[in-house]
């Protein structure tokens, strides 16, 4: 049995548990042993996206529009894929600039503008208050429903109760107290809240477990699984409308997907947990898949619960919004009912806590601080302002929750839960153009952002907020039906004649058109001012630029004492001193007194303050204690240019050095090849000179002898002259062959391509060597086929090869008994021509080198008369003609030189 006391005690106990978790996490953070510095906890904290609107509202929306509830989760799932770059960039910028909220982010991007920060804050508060109202409504309503357990009755509309009997008021006040404890527990106004994040992550688990438990109970306890449930629904005729109606209007699907994709990044609470509370960029990587997985899990049982609710409460007056709670109630599951109630409370409180903390920071930094700063110009402020800051934030928390309560009191019944959520989504989506385009486009200006935000917000008010007021009866209904002053074109829900869309899609279309249009037009109208250009560069280049160059953009005079004093005011004396000390240490200085009052120190102080009071206010405060010289636009552009030049220059350098490395490598290889060639050439040259010197030596010696000795006998004289003639011939041959070889090797030799019959060549060659063989007493044998053997090649060159082989053979065969055999045979695609002799053969160790230059085979006793270039030249010729040449040796039986040439291809 669930008694009121039990429910109240369980609720308070649950809140107490949350507080304990937050307290523990804060303590751990103080000890530098953070519990939230964990990718899973980060992803779970992002699930603050799933509010009471998800927990109760999804089922309500599914019952009304079928699977039409899905785009709200598809959008975030899709955009999560971009987090690796988009969210990373936002996080990187926010860390370096100590951004405290989305208002601060946008204000900072456009030159730290108070006006812009204030506008974003106003839009956020107006847009989000209904959403907070929704959470309050969910808590009080679920509480009221629970009180009648196990009877399911719908509570009366809230405004029928006197104000002080409305549980919602107490819920609001309780949550305000709780949020103050969570969000402003610390005396310093630091921007991060580790305890809150831990509690939120815990709540994400609770709401998921609660929802899944109800889903499993409904699907597997009440029914026999999905199939059974769907069958019953189909029989009852409620399944098809759910699926088919939900698919209607793809433009609405698209709009809702886009809207929720933007909202999951632009909602102040999402910005708070995803950006401000982020402790490591690494965590983004897990969030990219874990967060969508969470969304998937919490949606699995939405349709089953909606169907089961409609089956169970057919005909009864039970809102689909309450099925998650009322289904366990109707089946007398007290424990499950309580779990569902706590799950819903988790969803609602999580949202309220984070949202109000985020909004209170914005209200404090971007609305109240500018006013205070103006006042302080006339009246000097107190020495310690940190308490003041906390008081402002606490006040803002109470104010926001009371606003939420009032909205609930007066407008809350006008709409189903789900519509209120979408109205808020549409409001915060207006931040997207200024934020996202500003991250990638330098040209965006403060005017552009202001114009875009104002026009987008105006359209939102006109097309969504106004109709909701009209529906609540505060404005004449004729406004919606006929337009203001009966101008049909201005009908809020069919602006400029646009019909056929639902109100959210209609609003999104027009507000985004006006927002983006105004942003672009006003941005292009004027070039960015100095401060805008500076900030634009820091934001746009955030991912390229790890070294922060903000410090380079300040010039002026300052005193460290003044800066420290300023920081002490807002952060407290001890904390400020501590942080300055740490900063001095980072700069390798012993203490604060040694800190130079330079741009870097001023920048440090400003970012420190920005973490507490927002970037725009921090700039004003720092400016009040320093004299900044105004940098001209040219100077700033120069500095920025320099930075980007350095970047592109270093990129270029890197590229160049890669190219250089490659070129060096190639050069080295080429050089090695060249050296090798050079060595070969050297070897060749030294061989050639050696070969030239030898005959020259003989010629010179005998010439001198002939010259010196007139008394030489005629016999000797003729013998010596004969030697001189022979050696001169050898010299000429050598020179010719060297030139010939050089010509072939360099490729400058002329080659005729003609049909050559090898038989003809053989006969011709044998004819011209007939004399040579006869002198030596050598017998020539022919082993030749009868048919012509035609190859394509140069006739003279082939002749040269053959003559060379024949004369070589003749050199080695024994006197008188020599036999040289010429053999020609056909072998597959080649003709093989070989010349064999019955000489001494070639020694095995000589064989591999036989075709190298100046490698003559032979023993001392029968040193061959030759240049040592005949075979190398023959080899070059045969290879040039596409053939092959090789030598075989039959020791003591002679050598065989064979070359093979491809047969002439038959004309086709």
């Amino acid at each position: 049995m669930l008694t009121t006391t039990l429910v109240v005690v369980a609720s308070l106990g649950y809140l107490g548990l949350l507080f304990a978790i937050a307290y523990w996490a804060d303590r751990r953070a103080d000890q530098k042993r953070s519990v939230i510095s964990n990718a899973t906890i980060y992803a779970l904290s992002l699930a603050v996206y799933c509010t009471a609107w998800t927990f109760y509202g999804s089922v309500g929306r599914a019952a009304a529009t079928g699977i039409g509830f899905l785009p709200i989760y598809i959008g975030p799932t899709l955009i999560a894929a971009l987090w690796g770059t988009l969210l990373l960039k936002i996080v990187r910028v926010s860390k370096t600039q100590r951004i405290t909220s989305i208002a601060d982010f946008i204000a900072s991007r456009y030159g730290k503008s108070h006006l812009l920060g204030g506008l974003v804050t106003v839009i956020a508060v107006l847009g989000i208050v209904p959403y907070i109202a929704l959470q309050l409504k969910a808590i009080s309503r679920s509480f009221t429903i629970l009180l009648t357990y196990p009877d399911v009755t719908m509570p009366n509309p809230a405004d029928s109760l006197p104000l002080l009997q409305d549980t919602t008021l107490y819920v609001a006040l309780l949550l305000a107290a709780f949020t103050i404890l969570f969000g402003t527990r610390h005396l310093d106004a630091s921007e991060r809240h580790e305890g809150m994040v831990a509690a939120i992550a815990f709540e994400s688990i609770v709401k998921l477990v609660a929802f899944l438990s109800v889903g499993i109970f409904v699907t597997y306890q009440l029914h026999d699984g999905f199939t059974d449930l769907f069958d019953k629904a189909e029989t009852a005729g409620i399944l098809n409308p759910l699926i088919i109606d939900g698919m209607n209007g793809y433009e609405n699907w698209f709009a809702l997907t886009l809207l929720s994709a933007l909202a999951v990044m632009m909602l102040p609470r999402q910005f708070q947990v995803a950006v401000v509370e982020n402790s490591s960029e690494q965590h983004l990587r897990r969030a990219v898949w874990l967060f969508p997985l969470y969304l998937f899990l919490i949606n699995i049982f939405v349709i089953p619960i909606a169907l089961a609710g409609q089956l169970t409460f057919a005909g009864a007056n039970v809102d689909a919004d309450t099925f998650v709670l009322t289904l366990p109630m109707a089946h007398h599951q007290s424990a499950l009912t309580l779990l569902a109630f706590l799950g819903g409370m988790s969803a609602a409180t999580g949202m309220v806590i984070v949202e109000t903390i985020a909004l209170s920071t914005m209200v404090c930094n971007d609305l109240v601080m500018p006013v205070l700063l103006k006042r302080w110009k006339h009246i000097p402020p107190d020495a310690d302002l940190s308490q003041l800051l906390l008081r402002i934030r606490r006040g803002a928390i109470i104010l926001i929750l009371l606003l939420g309560f009032l909205y609930f009191r007066f407008a809350g019944e006008a709409y189903a839960l789900v519509s209120i959520g979408l109205i808020s989504f549409s409001a915060v989506a207006q931040f997207a153009p200024a934020l996202i385009i500003g991250l990638y486009w330098r040209g965006g200006t403060r005017r552009g952002a202001l114009a875009g935000l104002l026009s987008g917000f105006a359209i939102w008010m006109y097309t969504l907020l106004l109709p909701s007021f009209a529906k609540s009866g505060w404005l004449p209904a004729g406004l919606l039906e006929h337009g203001p002053f009966a101008i049909e074109l201005l009908k809020p829900q069919a602006l400029f004649g646009l019909t056929g869309l639902n109100e959210i899609t209609h609003c999104l279309f027009w507000s985004m058109t006006f927002n983006i249009g105004a942003y672009l037009i006003f941005s292009l109208w004027r070039t960015p001012r100095v401060d805008e250009a500076t900030q634009a560069s820091l934001f746009v280049d955030a991912l390229k630029n790890r070294r922060f160059l903000g410090a380079g953009l300040w010039r002026g005079t300052a005193e460290v004492k003044e800066l420290l004093h300023l920081a002490e005011r807002f952060l407290g004396v001890e904390r400020a001193k501590h942080l300055f000390q740490a900063f001095a240490k980072r700069r390798k200085l012993h203490d604060i007194n040694q800190l130079p009052a330079d741009a870097e120190t001023v920048h440090f102080a400003e970012t420190l303050l920005a973490g507490a009071i927002g970037s725009a206010s921090a700039r004003v405060m720092v400016a009040s204690v320093t004299t900044e010289e105004t940098l001209g636009m040219d100077e700033v552009l120069n500095i920025l240019d320099e930075a980007s030049q350095i970047r592109s220059y270093s990129r270029e350098l890197e590229q160049k050095s890669h190219q250089l490395e490659a070129a060096t490598r190639e050069l080295k290889e080429a050089n090695e090849r060249l050296q090798e060639l050079d060595r070969l050439k050297d070897d060749f040259m030294s061989s050639v000179t050696h070969e030239l010197r030898t005959p020259l030596a003989s010629i010179r010696a005998f010439s001198e002898i002939l010259n010196d000795d007139p008394d030489l006998s005629l016999n000797e004289r003729q013998r010596f002259l004969g030697i001189i003639v022979n050696e001169t011939e050898r010299l000429s041959r050598l020179v010719n062959q060297v030139l010939d070889l050089a010509k072939i090797e360099s490729g400058s030799a002329d080659w005729n391509a003609q049909d050559v019959d090898l038989l003809e060549i053989i006969e011709e060659a044998l004819a011209s060597t007939e004399q040579l063989f006869a002198e030596h007493g050598t017998r020539v044998c022919r082993e030749l086929p009868d048919n012509p053997c035609v190859v394509t090649g140069d006739r003279d060159r082939l002749m040269q090869v053959l003559l060379n082989l024949l004369s070589n053979a003749n050199k080695f065969v024994p006197q008188k008994s020599g036999v040289v055999t010429v053999n020609l045979r056909s072998n597959h695609e080649n003709y093989e021509l070989s010349v064999s002799d019955n000489g001494p053969g070639i020694a095995a160790e000589e064989l591999p080198n036989i075709f190298e230059k100046f490698r003559q085979a032979g023993t001392t006793s029968n040193k061959p008369i030759g240049t040592g270039l005949g075979l190398p030249i023959s080899k070059k010729i045969v290879e040039h003609l596409g053939g092959e040449i090789w030598a075989e040796s039959r020791e003591e039986k002679g050598a065989i030189f064979t070359f093979a040439l491809p047969k002439k291809k038959k004309a086709a």
């Binding site: 010197r693 030898t694 030596a697 010179r700 010696a701 000795d709 023993t859 040193k863």
Partner: protein, 124 residues
């Protein structure tokens, strides 16, 4: 008694010309066609002077020179290298291996004869 000169070269025409020159000077001449043959002839009957080519089959002039210089009985025999290898490094190598002179081909017959005479005189 006339001095004996061993001419070692694998070029018959060089051997022929040097032999003629030496005989004309009144020396007794023995010839060898390669390093191996030279070593054999030296072992059989050491000459008073060696005219040695470098690039030869079987055993080149440098090797011959080196082997002779480690043999105490032959270490003082004058060696005149006569080679087509004319690079500075090759000349230095010949000298450092123990050659007493190094003449490059093509050579002046007068220089060769003078050098031989000079080496044989300083021997006395």
């Amino acid at each position: 008694m006339s001095k004996k000169i061993l001419i070692v070269d694998d070029e018959p025409n060089i051997v022929l010309s040097v032999e003629y020159l030496m005989r004309r000077e009144g020396y007794e001449v023995v010839t060898a066609n390669d390093g191996q043959e030279a070593m054999e002839k030296i072992a059989a009957s050491p000459p008073d002077l060696l005219i040695l080519d470098v690039m030869m089959p079987r055993k080149n002039g440098f090797e011959v020179c080196q082997e002779l210089r480690v043999d105490p009985a032959l270490s003082t025999m004058p060696i005149l290298m006569l080679s087509a290898k004319g690079r500075e490094a090759e000349i230095k190598k010949g000298i450092s291996l123990g050659a007493d002179g190094y003449i490059t081909k093509p050579f002046s017959t007068h220089d060769l004869v003078d050098k031989v005479n000079q080496l044989l005189q300083s021997e006395e």
